[in-house]
Amino acid sequence: MALRGLGRRISIGKRCFSSASEVEKRPRDGKQINLFSAINQALHIALETDSRAYVFGEDVGFGGVFRCTTGLADRFGRNRVFNTPLCEQGIAGFAIGLAAMGNRAIAEIQFADYIYPAFDQIVNEAAKFRYRSGNQFNCGGLTIRSPYGAVGHGGHYHSQSPEAFFCHVPGLKWLYRLAVEEVPERDYMLPLSQAEVIRQGSDITLVGWGAQLSVLERACDEAAKDGISCELIDLRTLIPWDKETVEASVRKTGRLLVSHEAPVTGGFGAEISASIAERCFLRLEAPVARICGLDTPFPLVYEPFYMPTKNKVLDAIKATVNY
């Protein structure tokens, strides 16, 4: 779908939601918009409500390559919404410094594939700042936004899902959102580390995040035709992830399937699989299935073979249920 390519989101942030109890349950009064519009609206609200919020990155001034930052520079000025030179490591370091001074720094990495030069800054500087300074300093106001995932023709460097590298780092938070969702048009807060059960079911639990959920949804629909009732969970935050919700679901269904675009070996599905096996070993009726990308560099013409498609998921659902 065309929307798959637009505005998939990874947020890395040490944003502090101070009291979870003040936070609303998922609001139901929204209208359906796609992710880049939602991000755009959220950025407008963020810059409106916090005079020390800044948005920057490569080409954000004109609206960005996925239009997430449209209108921001015109509305808030080039002192708050500005382009950086082409240097991811510099962008990340700069953003950390800005956040360490108490600002809300919202940096954009143009494609998740480009995040690796910034890896050291994120892992060694941002993630450990609060810990190593004994809470004297923190960069809790830092958010790094980046589109990830396959677009159909992205090839090696416009398609990657790098979450596994970062989920291994205590001190970071890693978030996803659906490509199309119903959201309110006003300011609201969602709790971090709370997964959402999108669909109730009884035979098998499916866990995914981001754009892969639309694939899983279609697989659920097909499986329903064969009488298999699937429970679908949107993990939403990868670290720290909502183990309780997934565990509760697997205790109900006895089966788990995890699906992500990143290669299967060492992917985040492995973490989920191991944790649930620890927690639900005696309850599991079948091994945890992982339908993921293949262990190759993200290919160009072979993308349809590489991807964890609906049919692969469907086959695994049937195999797991019939184990």
Binding site: F62, L86, C87, G90, P117, H156, Y302, A319
Partner: protein
């Protein structure tokens, strides 16, 4: 003094236009008096003098033979034609993925080749189609790779951004901006070890010039006197960002600080040739040098970019009229009566025809075999997770 390493242009051209169906080799029907005379050497001034940073620039008087000028014309015309053809192939969705076109910048690829041999190495970023042709790649391999077919130079697995040609010393074709520069310095390091008097040209753009890793590589290269030439192809826009918005100093030839640099008119193929020759000699004796090629791309950054939201159409047409590299060489050829205008037009028509024929054939080429998906992740047989789910086979043809 003729450039002795330059292959005769007719065979270079037919190599470029190689295709399986037998056809008479392309021949040049022109009849200019100076054309067949190998001994004639013309002395031509470059458009502007070179500007040096911490180095005395070479003379702006360049020697060239008529044959050489004609070969420049032909080589650049093939490159131009290929890029225009790639544009329409992309729009008809025969080329997918990302496609970054080089038209306008041909003089850099052609001039560089004229100054070096295939034992020297070239490494560049993703705007690599013409660099590949310059290194001796042919249209067969180029279009096949663009269309993801198995006859492509990277077996269809790389696509537009990842052309390679090992036997010609072309180390490709890189997607991550600036990452190829430290690689290039590593190539030069190896060349220094081998002591074979060869150099590496590491190309990058004005956007990549602000990457930290470039300066790290430069420092090491200067410290160890590596025979590397860093070539900044400054087309003045990093995607949509003008150079003055991205760089405190857009004098990229000076950014090496302690490393000498030269600013070159990148639209003048003779200037490029002179600069590269000069740089090569310098690098072999003294270590790294930076060349800034002042050039321009007519297309946008890639096929997704119209190229007109951050620059005016007047600017683009202005450069086309005043500085187009092919037109410059055409004027030189006509002024020195090496060929007539209609003869040059005939050459261009012939090139166009050959390119169109090549494309027609490669539309029929097969896609790579599915088993190639897992090939070359590691050395053959080392083992790769072949299945997305234990117990689940993807297809019969994949073992």
């Amino acid at each position: 003094m003729a450039v002795s390493r330059l292959a005769p242009s007719a065979s270079t051209l037919s190599k470029l236009l190689l295709h399986p169906v037998s056809a008479p080799p392309f021949s040049r029907p022109f009849s200019g008096t100076a054309a067949g005379d190998d001994q004639t050497v013309l002395t031509i001034e470059t458009s502007v003098p070179f500007t040096g940073h911490k180095i005395d620039p070479p003379s702006r008087s360049v020697e060239a033979t008529p044959k050489e000028l004609l070969s420049f014309f032909q080589d650049m015309a093939v490159m131009r034609r290929m890029e225009i053809a790639a544009d329409s192939l992309y729009k008809s969705k025969l080329i997918r993925g990302f496609c970054h076109l080089y038209d306008g910048q041909e003089a850099v690829a052609v001039g560089m080749e004229a100054a070096i041999t295939q034992r020297d190495s070239i490494i560049t970023a993703y705007r690599d189609h013409c660099t590949f042709l310059g290194r001796g790649g042919n249209l067969v391999e180029a279009f096949s790779e663009l269309m993801g077919r198995r006859t492509g130079c990277s077996k269809g697995k790389g696509g537009s951004m990842h052309f390679y040609k090992k036997e010609a010393g072309f180390y490709g074709g890189h997607g991550i901006v600036g990452a190829q520069v430290p690689l290039g310095c590593g190539l030069a390091f190896a060349q220094k070890y081998f002591k074979d008097e060869t150099v590496t040209f590491a190309l990058y753009g004005d956007g990549a010039a602000n990457q930290g890793q470039l300066f790290e590589a430069l420092n090491i290269s200067a410290l160890w006197d590596l025979p590397v030439i860093l070539v900044c192809e400054n087309n003045h826009y990093g995607m949509g960002t003008a150079e003055w918005r991205a760089a405190k100093s857009a004098a990229y030839y000076k950014r090496g600080d302690y490393v000498p640099g030269l600013k070159v008119d990148g639209m003048d193929v003779l200037a490029v040739k002179q600069a590269c020759k000069f740089a090569r000699e310098h690098a072999l004796k003294n270590g790294p040098i930076i060349l800034e090629m002042d050039t321009y791309r007519y297309h946008g950054h890639s096929m997704s970019d119209p190229g007109s939201t951050y620059r005016t159409r007047d600017e683009i047409t202005g450069i086309r009229q005043e500085r187009d590299p092919i037109e410059r060489v055409r004027k030189l050829i006509l002024t020195h009566e090496i060929a007539s205008a209609s003869e040059l037009k005939d050459i261009e028509k012939e090139i166009r025809k050959k390119v169109d024929e090549a494309i027609a054939q490669f539309k029929e080429s097969p896609m790579p075999d599915p088993s190639e998906l897992f090939a070359d992740v590691y050395v053959k047989g080392y083992g790769v997770e072949m299945q997305a789910c234990p117990g689940l086979k993807l297809s019969k043809s994949i073992k």
